[in-house]
């Protein structure tokens, strides 16, 4: 049975990340940045990656990383989720990194692990671990085609592009014949982009199929920890606000109709924590990975979106304003409910995995 608790080291890691985010990732700053020309906070990324070495947690020390596991990465993602931090951690330090771990690209892996370069897998964010993904054409040794819905592509230095010859190609994002066009995104803190390749040069780093599957599986499993962070923040902040907010000469948090809804959310967060820890531990140990990831993703989206939606409603009018951060949480939670497969898609996967087959 998996270890569902947090170790002392994991608690210490959480505290360090939270301190950094408290100082350098306040909600007002995140909201302001969403409308600037630079949606990603690259200075915060540098502190996380360079300063704290978190970009290389999944990479063995011999390959330039920290040699940690998915359990520690999950704790980092919980904290990044709480802050809705606009950094390409999940996309570069988890998904692109996992793809490269399935390939032979030591130099690139080390660059991603150090945080000196940011990677993005050129597969739409909505694709599930076992879902079909789009490829570009390989013609005369160059890549041609277009991919949409690529998360954090606008921050990426290198794109990992699956091609129709079955290969995964590393393409420099600033090379000739490569255009990254930002798409107006629901979640402005993890924007998606269109990637257009018109005869781009790429280096084949390995086979696309196993690399993409591994990357998306890890992405899906660890996304649950980000969703946990979002839900945990939304609940904590709503409880705090409702103890303070007074109407009818009482704190509104004392009304039973609201208390029951908050208690229900607490229960969902408690459940989500168990499911997310289970997925992270399964990824770390390699045991029961497919079921653990599918269970976590089948549960997480509903819990995170519900918590964010309730947080907005229970804040009343202030929750509807651009100024209040609850919309950051809602937009991320809603986008996350599509990322790496919907809960329905993961349930369908479970039907096969646990032998509860369709009619």
């Amino acid at each position: 049975m998996s270890d569902l608790l947090y170790s002392e080291e994991e608690d210490a890691l959480r505290a360090a990340v939270r301190d950094l985010l408290t100082d350098h990732c306040d909600a007002a700053g995140v909201i302001a940045r969403t409308e600037s020309g630079a949606p990603h906070d690259l200075s915060l990324w540098k502190s996380l990656a360079d300063g704290m070495g978190l970009a290389g947690l999944l990479v063995p020390e011999a390959q330039g990383g920290q040699g940690a596991t998915h359990r520690e990465v999950a704790v980092v993602l919980e904290e990044l989720g709480r802050a809705v931090a606009p950094v390409p951690y999940l996309t570069s330090a988890v998904v692109a990194t996992e793809a490269l771990l399935a390939c032979e690209a030591g130099d690139l892996l080390a660059e991603l692990a150090s945080g000196r370069r940011i990677g993005a897998l050129a597969v739409a964010l909505s694709v599930a671990p076992d879902g079909a993904f789009k490829t570009v054409r390989l013609e005369d040794g160059t890549l041609h085609g277009e991919s949409t819905g690529i998360a954090d592509a606008s921050a990426a230095d290198v794109l990992l592009v699956p091609a129709d010859d079955g290969g995964l190609y590393a393409v420099d994002a600033d090379a000739d014949a490569v255009t990254v066009v930002p798409q107006v995104s629901l979640d402005l803190t993890r924007p998606v982009a269109r990637v257009v390749l018109e005869g781009a040069r790429g280096r084949r780093v390995g086979d696309a199929e196993p690399a993409v599957r591994r990357a998306l599986r890890a992405g899906a499993g660890l996304l649950a920890s980000e969703q946990l962070g979002l839900a945990d923040w939304a609940l904590t902040e709503t409880v705090r606000y409702l103890k303070e907010r007074k109407q009818f000469n009482r704190p509104v948090g004392g009304f039973q109709a609201l208390k029951h809804r908050l208690a229900q959310l607490w229960l969902e967060v408690v459940n989500l924590r168990a499911a997310a820890r289970n997925a992270a531990d399964a990824l770390a140990t390699g045991e029961d990975v497919e079921v653990a990831v599918a269970v976590a993703q089948a549960y997480a989206a509903g819990a995170a979106v519900h918590t964010a939606e309730e947080a907005l409603q229970l804040h009343g009018g202030i929750g509807m304003t651009w100024e209040h951060p609850v919309h950051l949480c809602l937009k991320r939670a809603k986008a996350d409910s599509i990322a790496y497969g919907t809960s329905g898609g993961h349930r369908a996967a479970l039907a096969e995995l646990v032998d509860l087959r369709a009619p």
Partner: protein
Amino acid sequence: MTDAGELRNRTRDVLAAHPPATTERLDFLKARFDAGLAWVHFPEGLGGLGAPRSLQAVVDAELEAAGAPDNDPRRIGIGLGMAAPTILKYGTEDQKQRFLRPLWVGEEVWCQLFSEPGAGSDLAALGTRAVREGDHWVVNGQKVWTSSAHLARWAILIARTDPDVPKHAGITYFVCDMTDPGVEVRPLRQITGEAEFNEVFLTDVRIPDAHRLGEVGDGWKVAQTTLMNERVSIGGMRIPREGGMIGPIAKTWRERPELRTHDLHQRLLKVWVEAEVARLTGERLRQQLVAGQPGYEGSGMKLSFARLNQEISGLEVELLGEEGLLYDDWTMRRPELVDFTGRDAGYRYLRSKGNSIEGGTSEVLLNIVAERVLGLPAEPRTDKDAAWKDLTR
């Protein structure tokens, strides 16, 4: 005497002196009790050795390996889980000596006389009266939802001894003799057709003051010990995947493809995921307890299981189609043990309706989570400072 090795030796000595194969079950249990191996965390002379509770597993493993009889803990759960810890904490030396040994060996079954028709969620509003007459108390009132009352020799009872003070202050805790002629036990038939519980009518029941637990007026405080132990005894077990209510429906789904529809499939997968997540939450709670970091998750577990049991069993009846129109047996029975997942889907559906009512309604549990875990303010109350006799009934 807290060492695992010593406990093991002591257990082997009892087994050698009283070989289970040739010893009467009750004699063996008494010998085990007298050797301090009944509940090792209890004091010496009362079935224990003052050892850490965790070492009980050492004793149990030795006894199980030797094929020794146990005290059938499910049959005497109320005595073991609720009466015993309360007697240990609040009982006089005489009471402990008199009650604990026959309780533990199962010679005397216990029941609990707490809930009343007019005092469910608001238990402290109870109206059963106990009036002092010399060195006795005379008790009149009605209790309800009492399991094992028809089998019980003793009951733990809370009754109102002072109606002129606020409700929590006027309650006293007693041990009630269920063979008193004023005690009448009637089965309470429930929607499943059977009667797991009873109504208990108390008419001029005489209880010696020597059978009072705790001080007069301290009954509410004493009852908290009882109720806290009720909550502790729920949970704590490691459950395999598809353990519990989801198991039977998953089995039916696999074995009977002709019953499958797309709608049922979607709903089954959804509850399967929720059951698995609830199981993981229970496992996480268990790991926290083992690590000595008790969490709040326990408060939520009962809420989850009540809702899931109801949803899953309801879905199962629907899945069965024409068979879902049938019911296994409406015969009125008084089962000694209840297995929520036993019997057919229709029974499970009806029985699980009680899961969100018994042992604290889901509505009260949500209040507990909101106030104790989330720290939200309580609703304004008008009942706390008023004398019990002035409350609305």
